[in-house]
């Protein structure tokens, strides 16, 4: 059979082309993922230990207060300590706000403790000097000598940039580094990951360091440097592993779609070769011989597509990493290094996928009776009837799946959700040969007038082989269902998250003064470009317990509803609401503290909250008692819907700063979250697009193969009077019908799954979260798939219309 094997490989490879492409894409995906994740891993773990070089011990996650105490203790005892952590503050360069949230970290005092590498200028030598990360400098256009203003309001700091640095460790990275005396003013807002301690003299001892540290902070978590760095590396690696697995999941989806496409292709091809196979059987090839031969064919195809896929993946992966490193150095990607195990794995997967996909079609192909070779009729009419077993299984799967989804909703269980969803989907696939043709006929009937005779023929063609039609649409169904489920789920989650964010950051911009704000300031703030409303808030300045002097504002102010996105806490007559940031050391929620304005003292119970800036909120009555004629102490602002957060912050700061007021920017935080959601949605849909692309290639492929099959028929139609254009239109209509039906069905399924997921996962977390249908996006998906169907039909329809009627009608 070797002759037959090589001959058919040579002849038929072109027809397998599209199916092979699917496998190549799938295996290349795996290799690219491996390349990217190895580069990410390399970049993240590089230099992880450098900040701790020279330390004797590391304190794991000290509180900001503990860190402050340890730094002071180190200085007093002649030891050395430096922290790895940062605070997020607003950054303005030469008067212009460039970022509302920049990470500001510490530059260790001693030169030999500094892990930052000097790129330009010099290191900071005294308070008032700062060094800036070189990537930040490039992006925000900061040069040595520039004046920076960090933070806002009373705690704002003016520094001069004296140097540019680069951090070898992605983990210990900050955009701006200050010496501790400067950084300490934001001590309360610091997030400290770790603190390094080096005992006096050289070659210190971990035990000594631990003792010294514990003397200051008795319950500090002290770890040896080596172990700490190792744990850190493990943590980073685990993080990358998780992301890797998630991305590979999408690769798996693409491969599942590829299996469907290949299966369909093989089925069609073998149907077309049935006469050849029957002749072989006639002439003396046993079933085994034929089976082995076509299985070998699929093996050869699998191996070659694996080789191509792996090579393509290596090229694309390395290329992509090189591109990112060149264009976006701040992404800090390391070197790509794809382990041979990954290459072998990707190749094995490709071969396995091809063999699995070809298994059933090859089995079916061999069942052909030799008698089939003797019939002069060369059309391959395969009229299949959907077995009752298949329908029964389908009903069972849908039923069980629905129960699973209901259970998931009741118990908020992700596992039940996944299982239920998969079962329902599998059930729909099993129902496919009945469901899809019915939908096509229905859709065809709807568009009857539009389509004309060509279209009516198309609808008839599409349904005459139900199994094949269902198989063709199945691949697209997966991609579309997942995409619409993701889009709908994201839209629903987004609205739930937006509600949450509104509660957490109810004020776009809150300008709080150290003293009363003049009417002029209030007016100028209201007139800022992009401002929708401004509400002055009456208040005063009071001494609050141990916290010193704080602005005190009236929570319920006339007109506040114009400005607030969510509700502010309403302090009762005996309460004062303080920002969480200020609580913790000495003053706790529930304490009763004295709030004094001059000689008037009110003893109020502390409640925690956030979202209006660094001020205390009291009831109107309390304020009236403390300061009877309170002038506006703060202004709460609401931005226009499409205002730019950065520009707005800059303009507001320009007004607030000369007035000695601080700005709390809730708008920036909300738009950051929005950005994250957009990126996530875009990323997921992009990954799914690969699976969808494979499916569309599959549809084009099926159409092309059926055209080959129906050559005689098309010739007959042309002879009977169908013009070339009508033949093209017929095939285009077929492709569009298939795509649109698959998309509509997939959209319906996707919405159902999204609804279940929202009910099961989001509603328990965010009460009142509902299903939000992104009509625009869903409509776009349907339109795009119709267009893609049209595109898929272009080549096959060209070929079909070119058949000369006489040539096609000749008996072989």
């Amino acid at each position: 059979m070797r002759t037959v094997l090589w001959a058919s490989l040579r002849t038929h490879t072109r027809r397998y082309g599209a199916a092979l492409l699917a496998v190549v894409v799938g295996s290349a995906f795996i290799v690219v993922t491996a390349a990217l994740s190895s580069a990410i891993r390399d970049g993240l773990t590089a230099g992880l230990g450098e900040p701790y070089d020279g330390a004797d011990a590391v304190v794991d996650r000290p509180s900001p207060d503990e860190a402050g105490r340890l730094l002071a203790a180190a200085r007093d005892s002649g030891a050395d300590a430096w922290l790895i952590g940062w605070t997020m503050e607003q950054l303005a360069v030469d008067g212009t706000v460039v970022d509302s949230d920049t990470d500001i970290g510490q530059l260790p005092d001693r030169a030999d403790r500094r892990w930052q590498e000097l790129v330009d200028g010099r290191f900071a030598a005294a308070p008032g000097e700062a060094v800036v990360d070189t990537n930040t400098a490039t992006v925000s256009r900061i040069a040595v000598g520039d004046e920076l203003r960090i933070g806002t309001g009373a705690d704002a700091l003016d520094v001069t940039v004296v140097g540019l640095v680069d951090s070898p460790s992605t983990y210990a990275y900050a955009s701006v580094y200050l010496l501790w005396p400067d950084l300490a003013r934001w001590q309360d807002r610091l997030y400290v990951t770790s603190l390094a301690w080096a005992g006096p003299g050289d070659g210190g001892d971990t035990a000594e360091a631990r003792a010294a540290i514990r003397a200051v902070v008795p319950d500090a978590e002290v770890v040896a440097v080596d172990r700490f760095v190792q744990d850190l590396q493990t943590e980073v690696n685990n993080g990358v592993d998780v992301v890797q697995i998630v991305v590979l999941l999408f690769g798996a989806i693409a491969l599942v779609v590829a299996v469907l496409v290949i299966n369909n292709t093989f089925t069609i091809l073998f149907a077309q070769r049935s006469r050849d196979l029957a002749l072989l059987r006639c002439v003396g090839a046993t079933r085994q011989q034929v089976l082995r031969s076509i299985r070998l064919e699929s093996l050869v195809l699998g191996v070659s597509s694996a080789a191509i896929g792996v090579l393509a993946g290596l090229g694309a992966g390395h290329g992509l990493v090189a591109l990112i490193r060149a264009q976006w150095p701040q992404a800090r990607l390391g070197q790509a290094q794809v382990a041979p195990a990954w290459l072998a794995g990707a190749a094995a997967v490709a071969v396995l996928v091809t063999l699995v996909a070809a298994w059933l079609p090859t089995r079916r192909a061999v069942r052909i009776s030799p008698l089939a070779a003797l019939r002069p009729d060369d059309s391959t009419h395969v009229r299949t009837r959907t077995g009752r077993i298949r329908l029964g299984l389908g009903a069972l799967a849908v039923g069980a799946g629905t129960l699973g989804l209901a259970a998931a909703i009741a118990t908020a269980n992700v596992g039940a959700l996944a299982v239920g969803g998969t079962l329902v989907f599998a059930g729909v696939l099993l129902f496919g040969p009945v469901l899809v043709p019915a939908l096509i006929r229905g859709t065809g009937a709807l568009g009857n007038r539009l389509l004309g005779p060509a279209g009516r023929l198309a609808a008839g063609n599409a349904v005459r082989n139900p199994r094949r039609t269902a198989a063709t649409t199945a691949s697209l169904l997966i991609g579309v269902t997942l995409t619409t489920a993701v889009l709908t789920g994201m839209a629903s989650s987004r609205s739930a998250i937006t509600t949450e964010m509104d509660e957490q950051h109810p004020i776009d911009l809150a300008v709080t003064g150290e003293g009363p704000l003049s009417a002029e300031v209030v007016d100028r703030l209201a007139e800022v470009d992009g401002m929708a409303a401004a509400v002055p808030v009456p208040g005063t300045v009071a001494r609050v317990g141990d916290l010193g002097e704080l602005p005190v504002l009236a929570a319920r102010t006339a007109g506040a509803s114009r400005v607030l996105h969510g509700g502010l806490p309403a302090p009762g007559p005996g309460q004062v609401v303080l920002p969480w940031d200020l609580l913790g050391d000495g003053v706790e929620a529930g304490d009763v503290v004295p709030v004094a304005v001059g000689d008037e003292v009110a003893r109020l119970r502390v409640v925690g909250g956030e979202g209006w800036g660094e001020a205390a909120l009291v009831g109107r009555a309390t304020l009236d008692r403390l300061a009877p004629d309170a002038a506006p102490q703060a202004v709460w602002l609401r931005a226009d819907r499409d205002a730019d957060p950065e520009d707005l912050a800059g303009s507001v700061e320009a007004v607030a700063e000369p007035a000695g007021a601080g700005v709390e920017n809730g708008l920036a935080k909300r738009s950051y979250v929005d950005l994250q959601l957009d990126v996530l949605t875009g990323g997921v849909v992009g990954l799914l697009a690969i699976a969808v692309a494979i499916a569309l290639v599959g549809i084009g492929n099926t159409l092309g193969l059926s055209v080959l099959e129906r050559g005689r028929e098309h010739a007959l139609l042309r002879a009977l009077g169908l013009t070339r254009r009508q033949v093209r239109r017929m095939l285009a209509a077929e492709a569009v019908l298939l795509s649109v039906v698959a998309t509509v069905l997939g959209t319906a399924l996707g919405v159902v799954f999204a609804w279940s997921a929202v009910r099961a996962l989001v509603q328990p977390a965010v009460a009142g979260a509902g299903l939000v249908l992104p009509w625009g996006q869903l409509g776009l998906v349907v339109v795009m798939s119709a267009l893609a169907g049209l595109l898929a039909a272009v080549l096959p329809s060209r070929r079909a219309s070119r058949i000369a009627p006489a040539a096609g009608l000749r008996l072989d």
């Binding site: 037959v4 059987r281 002439v283 079933r287």
Partner: protein, 233 residues
């Protein structure tokens, strides 16, 4: 006194379908096909002549009765055994679509022997050369079926059928698609193989012109043999 029998059937019956659609293609056919002769099986469409050939060739299982070819009884043979039997003892020439389009003429001719895994020893090569020469195919060996005329394709099919020196060659309407010149050529080649190589050829045909080349004529109607005679010389 009876010459060797290439094939024979006893009480051969074949029915299709059920109930309303029940069709009796063959009704208890008894037939002896002597070796070394050219037999033509004739009859109108629906007479069962193709079905008779299928059963004789082991391509179809009879509903009742027995078939013996080259001394071997075919009933009770499973699919694999029948396939191997066909490979070694039966040659085929069909009306159309005889050849695998992906293979060259030469590869098509070697196909049954390759399937049987037979060595291409000197004897077999000699036979190949002889047959190809007689059928005037030497110049066409490297061509694909698409590059051959109808008559040439049938000649390649005959060559394939003769190469393994089968006990019996079945030809199903071999001239159905050919013009009169090519038909004459093919039929005389078949007769030549009987005369010169001692081959047994059984041809199903509805053309009386074609039947003239045969030695014996068997006529079927409604699944029964109605006539058996020697052809007029």
């Amino acid at each position: 006194m009876t010459s060797l029998l290439a094939a024979s059937t006893r009480g051969l019956t074949k029915s299709y379908g059920r109930g309303d659609t029940l069709v009796h293609a063959l009704r208890g056919v008894d037939l002896d096909l002597p070796a070394g002769r050219f037999t033509a099986i004739m009859g109108p469409s629906g007479s069962g002549k193709s079905t008779l050939m299928h059963c004789l060739a082991g391509l179809d299982q009879p509903t009742a009765g027995s078939v013996t070819v080259a001394g071997q009884a075919l009933e009770g043979m499973d699919d694999d055994a029948l396939t191997r039997f066909r490979r070694d003892h039966v040659g085929f020439v069909f009306q159309a679509f005889n050849l695998l389009p992906a293979l060259s003429a030469e590869q098509n001719i070697w196909l049954p022997t390759e399937l049987a895994g037979r060595d291409r020893d000197a004897d077999l090569r000699g036979r190949f050369d002889g047959i190809v020469d007689t059928l005037d195919l030497t110049a066409r060996l490297g061509h694909r079926p698409a590059e051959l005329s109808g008559g040439q394709q049938q000649r390649v099919a005959i060559a394939r059928a003769l190469l393994s020196a089968p006990a019996i060659v079945f030809a199903d309407e071999p001239t159905g698609n050919l013009d009169s010149a090519s038909s004459a050529e093919v039929l005389s080649l078949l007769r030549q193989s009987v005369r010169e190589l001692g081959q047994t050829v059984v041809m199903v045909t509805h053309e009386t012109e074609a039947a003239r080349y045969a030695d014996d004529i068997v006529v079927l109607a409604d699944g029964r043999i109605t006539e058996r005679r020697e052809a007029a010389a």
